[in-house]
C-alpha cells in the first residue's frame, strides 16, 4: 500500500511551515509522527496535495518547566514523554498514559501534538489533556493564541485548530501537593485503541477531595470531560459509595459507537469500571502509597 501522490515539504523552522501551510491551505496536511496520517493516506481516507513534514523543526521538541508550568513541544514523541524525569515528578499522568499507547516502535515516531491535533476520539492524549487541565499554543500567520484543552475538541477529527494553524506547544500546570493520578485503559492487545479508558487527576486536603478532574477516552465523538462525576467527589471524603456515584455519572455522559471492541452497553459498562479503578488508584497514590 502506497499513499497517493503529493508534494513533500520539509521546513526547518516553524515560520516556514506556517508560510507553506498558508500557501497551500486546504490542500496541505501537516506530517507529525505519521502513524495516523500515513495509514489514512494509504487507504485514501486522506489525499493531501501537499505534505508538510515538521519533523526537522527543532523548536517543536523538548520538555521544560517555566514558572510552575510545564511546556511540551508538540513534536515530542511518546517515548520522550515516558523518559522525562520532569514529567514523572511534576505531571506523571502524561507518561503513564503514553506507556499505554501503541508499541515501542510507534512510540518512537508518534508525538503528543499529533495525537491531540488529529482529533481522533480513540487517541489517549485528549482525555489526559482534559484531566491535567492543559492548554494549547496554536501558531498561525498572525501569531499565536493559547486555548484550553477543555473546549478544543469539537467532534471526530474536528478541533479548534484552523486550517492555517499548527499546534506548537502543550502547557500543563505542575501538580500540587497531595496529588494522585491514574490512567486506566482497557484494550484488547498491545497497540489497540481503548475499548474504554478513564484519566483522573485529584488533590486531597486532609481526608477530603479538594480538586478532581475525570476524562474519558473513546466513549463519544470526542474525549469527554466528566464534570458531573467530579462534582460528586469535590469537597467530600472519597469513599466507595461516592466512587460508585461518580462512576454512574461518568457512564451517563458516554455515547460510544459500536464496533469490534464491543457494543454500546459493554463499552459504557467498562467506562464505569475504568472510572472506578482510576479514581481508586489516584486516591491510593495521593495517600502516598
Amino acid at each position: 500500500m502506497t499513499p497517493g501522490s503529493f508534494e513533500y515539504h520539509a521546513p526547518s523552522n516553524l515560520d516556514e511551515a506556517i508560510k507553506l501551510l498558508g500557501k497551500f491551505s486546504d490542500q496541505a496536511k501537516i506530517l507529525a509522527g505519521g502513524h495516523s496520517l500515513l495509514p489514512m493516506m494509504k487507504l485514501r481516507f486522506a489525499e493531501p496535495g501537499h505534505l508538510i513534514d515538521i519533523n526537522r523543526i527543532a523548536e517543536l521538541k523538548g520538555i521544560r518547566e517555566e514558572k510552575g508550568t510545564i511546556r511540551i513541544g508538540a513534536m515530542t514523541t511518546e517515548n520522550e514523554l515516558i523518559a522525562s524525569e520532569l514529567l514523572k515528578q511534576k505531571c506523571p499522568l502524561i507518561p503513564e498514559a503514553a506507556r499505554l499507547i501503541a508499541d515501542p516502535q510507534v512510540r518512537n515516531c508518534g508525538t503528543i501534538g499529533g495525537d491531540i491535533a488529529h482529533g481522533d476520539p480513540g487517541n489517549d492524549h485528549p482525555a489526559v489533556m482534559l484531566a491535567v487541565e492543559a492548554s494549547f499554543v496554536l501558531r498561525g500567520p498572525k501569531g499565536s493564541r493559547t486555548v484550553p484543552a477543555d473546549g478544543f475538541f469539537l467532534g471526530t477529527y474536528q478541533t479548534q485548530l484552523k486550517a492555517d494553524e499548527i499546534l506548537a506547544e502543550i502547557r500543563v500546570p505542575v501538580v500540587g501537593a497531595n496529588s494522585g493520578y491514574a490512567y486506566c485503559k482497557l484494550k484488547r492487545k498491545t497497540g489497540d485503541f481503548a475499548t474504554a479508558a478513564a484519566a483522573v487527576q485529584l488533590q486531597l486536603d486532609g481526608k477530603k477531595c479538594k480538586k478532581i478532574t475525570i476524562a474519558l477516552t473513546n466513549l463519544g465523538p470526542t474525549a469527554l470531560k466528566a464534570a458531573d462525576a467530579a462534582a460528586v467527589l469535590v469537597g467530600n471524603e472519597v469513599d466507595d459509595a461516592r466512587i460508585e456515584q461518580a462512576a454512574k455519572k461518568a457512564m451517563a455522559i458516554c455515547d460510544p459507537a459500536e464496533d469490534l471492541r464491543g457494543d454500546r452497553d459493554y463499552k459504557i459498562h467498562m467506562a464505569g469500571e475504568m472510572t472506578r479503578r482510576a479514581i481508586s488508584l489516584a486516591l491510593y497514590r495521593a495517600w502516598g502509597k
Binding site: 502506497t2 501522490s5 503529493f6 505519521g34 502513524h35 494509504k42 515501542p104 516502535q105 510507534v106 515516531c109
Partner: protein, 161 residues
C-alpha cells in the same frame, strides 16, 4: 511529479537514489536498494516485520516515507553480521530456535538489537514489553524471549555494557 534525490547511510555505507515523495522506506530498501531482508507484513504499522533502526531508534519502515530518511542513518537486518560472522543476536536466535517460518525474524532481530542497547540487562517482563511491537504467528514467543536473554548474556561481557 519530479523525483526527489535522497542520500543516507545504510548499514554503514552511503547510498543515494531517486524516489517519489509517496514511496515508503520499506519499499525503497527492498526494491531499489536490493535489501530484501526487511519484510513487509501488515503494512499498517502493527506487525513489526518491517522494523529497521533509524537514527538509533527502532521504527516501522512501512510508516516512514523514504524522503524522511534523507541525511539519516538506517540499519537493516543485513547490517547485523560483520565480515561473514553472525551477530550474537542472530547466533542466539539459531541456538534457541527463536523462529519457525522466519517471516517476522528480521524485524524481531533488528528490534532486539536496539532493545539490548537501551536495556543490556533486561528481565523477562522487560523483554516482553520491549518486543511488544513485533508479532510472531509461529513460536508463541517463548523461544524468542530465550534467544534475547541468551544474546544479552553473550553481548554484555563483549561490549562491557
Amino acid at each position: 511529479m519530479a523525483k526527489t534525490h535522497i542520500a543516507f547511510t545504510l548499514n554503514g555505507k552511503s547510498v543515494e537514489t531517486l524516489v517519489d515523495a509517496r514511496e515508503l522506506l520499506v519499499h525503497v530498501l527492498r526494491e531499489q536498494l536490493g535489501q530484501t531482508g526487511t519484510h513487509i507484513g501488515c503494512e499498517t504499522s502493527h506487525c513489526g516485520a518491517c522494523t529497521v533502526d533509524f537514527n538509533g531508534k527502532s521504527v516501522k519502515s512501512c510508516t516512514v516515507l523514504a524522503v524522511q530518511a534523507n541525511g539519516g542513518d538506517v540499519m537493516t537486518v543485513e547490517g547485523l553480521a560483520k565480515n561473514g560472522t553472525l551477530h550474537p543476536i542472530q547466533e542466539a536466535f539459531t541456538q534457541e530456535h527463536g523462529l519457525q517460518c522466519g517471516y517476522c525474524t528480521p524485524g524481531m532481530m533488528v528490534r532486539a538489537y536496539r532493545f539490548l542497547q537501551e536495556n543490556p540487562k533486561p528481565t523477562e517482563e522487560e523483554i516482553r514489553t520491549g518486543m511488544s511491537g513485533n508479532i510472531c504467528r509461529c513460536t508463541g514467543y517463548q523461544n524468542i524471549i530465550k534467544a534475547i536473554q541468551h544474546a544479552a548474556g553473550v553481548m554484555r561481557p563483549a561490549k562491557g555494557a
